[in-house]
Amino acid sequence: MNYSSAEIWLIIALMAVGTFLIRFSFLGLIGNRDMPAFVLRLLRYTPVAVLPGMVAPLVLWPTATQGQTDPVRLIAALVTVLVGVWTRSALWAICGGAATFYIAIAIVAAL
C-alpha cells in the first residue's frame, strides 16, 4: 500500500461523507416524491453487479500466487458460492469456503 497517512484519512473521510449522503439521500433530502420505477429497479441489482466483478479477477489470478491460477483458491471460491446459494446464509458460506480453503492448503502442503 503506497498511500501517505493524509491520503488514507482523506479516503476514510470522503467515504464516510459519501456513504452517509447515499443513506440520507431520499430519507433526508428528497422526501416523499416518488422515484422512477426503472431507477429503483437498477438500484436493486447494485450488490450483485459490483461484488462478483470485483472478486472474479482475485479468484482467477490471485496476487498471492503472482497471478498464477491456483486450484486451491478456485475450489474454495466454488464451495463458498454453492454453500451460499444452497443455505441462503452468508455466515454458512463463509464457514464452508474458509474451511475448504484451509483444508485444501493443508492437503497441498502435505503432498
Binding site: 500500500m1 476514510i12 456513504t19 447515499i22 443513506r23 429503483l40 453487479a49 471460491a77 446459494v85 458460506a93
Partner: protein, 240 residues
C-alpha cells in the same frame, strides 16, 4: 410478537427491535473481527482501521476500499468503487421514506447513519407487516435493531486489529476477503435477473482487467445493473 406493540409506548417498540436485532451479532461479530484483521494486514494503523469502522460503518464497502488500496488504485477509484458498493443503500433510503419521512430531521439523520443491510431488512419487514405502527414507534424499533449490532461492530473490529498483528502469513488471509464477498453475494442470487447481473459483472470485469484499477469494475457494474433491470422487465412482460 404480540399485538401489544400496537398501542404500547415507544419503549416497547425499541425493545422489540433489540430482540429482533440480536441474532445478527452472530454475523456482524466475525465479520467485524475479520475487517480488523485484514485492515491491519493491509497496513492500516489502529486509528485508520477504527476510523473506517466507526465513520463509514458499511462492511462490504470497507472491505472493497481496503482491497483496492492493497492494489494501489488511485484515490478516486478507491472511492468510486467503494461508494458503488454502497449505492444499494440509496434504494434502502428511498423505500424507508413512506414510513419514516415524517420523523424529525435529526432522527432521520441518525437512522441514515445506522442504515445498513440488517437494520434495513428487519425494519422494513416490520413496517410492512404492521402498517398501524406510529412514526415514533417505527423510529424506536429501528434504533432497537441497531443497538446490539452497531457497538459490537466497533468492538469486534478492535479485537481483530489487536489479534491481527499476531497472525502469521501462512494463514493466507489474502483470500479471506474474496470468500467474504462471494458469501455475501451467493444468497442474493435468487432470480434469473440476479444471476444474469452477476454473470455480466464477472465477464465484463474479466474482459477489462487491463484498464487502470477500478475502471473495469465500474463499467462492469453499470452493465450488470442494466442487465438485471432489463431481465427483470423482460421476465415480468413474459409472465403476463
Amino acid at each position: 410478537m404480540t399485538t401489544s406493540t400496537v398501542k404500547a409506548p415507544a419503549k416497547s417498540a425499541y425493545w422489540a427491535g433489540v430482540r429482533d436485532g440480536a441474532p445478527f451479532i452472530l454475523m456482524a461479530g466475525p465479520f467485524a473481527t475479520l475487517f480488523g484483521v485484514i485492515a491491519t494486514d493491509a497496513g492500516l494503523t489502529l486509528a485508520q482501521a477504527m476510523g473506517f469502522t466507526v465513520l463509514v460503518i458499511a462492511g462490504a464497502a470497507q472491505f472493497a476500499a481496503v482491497q483496492l488500496m492493497v492494489e494501489n488504485a488511485s484515490i478516486a477509484f478507491v472511492l468510486l468503487a467503494a461508494l458503488a458498493v454502497n449505492l444499494r443503500m440509496a434504494m434502502y433510503s428511498a423505500s424507508l421514506v413512506p414510513y419514516l419521512g415524517a420523523a424529525p430531521l435529526w432522527k432521520r439523520a441518525l437512522i441514515a447513519y445506522l442504515n445498513f443491510d440488517q437494520t434495513y431488512v428487519m425494519s422494513i419487514s416490520r413496517y410492512e407487516a404492521r402498517p398501524e405502527m406510529s412514526v415514533p414507534d417505527r423510529v424506536s424499533y429501528f434504533f432497537g435493531v441497531a443497538t446490539p449490532i452497531a457497538p459490537l461492530w466497533a468492538v469486534m473490529t478492535l479485537v481483530g486489529i489487536l489479534a491481527g498483528k499476531a497472525i502469521p502469513d501462512a494463514w493466507a488471509l489474502d483470500f479471506i476477503m474474496p470468500i467474504m464477498f462471494l458469501a455475501m453475494v451467493a444468497p442474493m442470487l435468487k432470480s434469473r435477473a440476479h444471476l444474469a447481473a452477476a454473470g455480466v459483472s464477472v465477464l465484463v470485469a474479466l474482459a477489462l482487467t487491463e484498464l487502470p484499477a477500478g475502471t473495469g469494475l465500474l463499467i462492469a457494474a453499470g452493465a450488470a445493473m442494466l442487465t438485471g433491470a432489463l431481465v427483470e422487465t423482460w421476465m415480468e412482460r413474459r409472465g403476463r
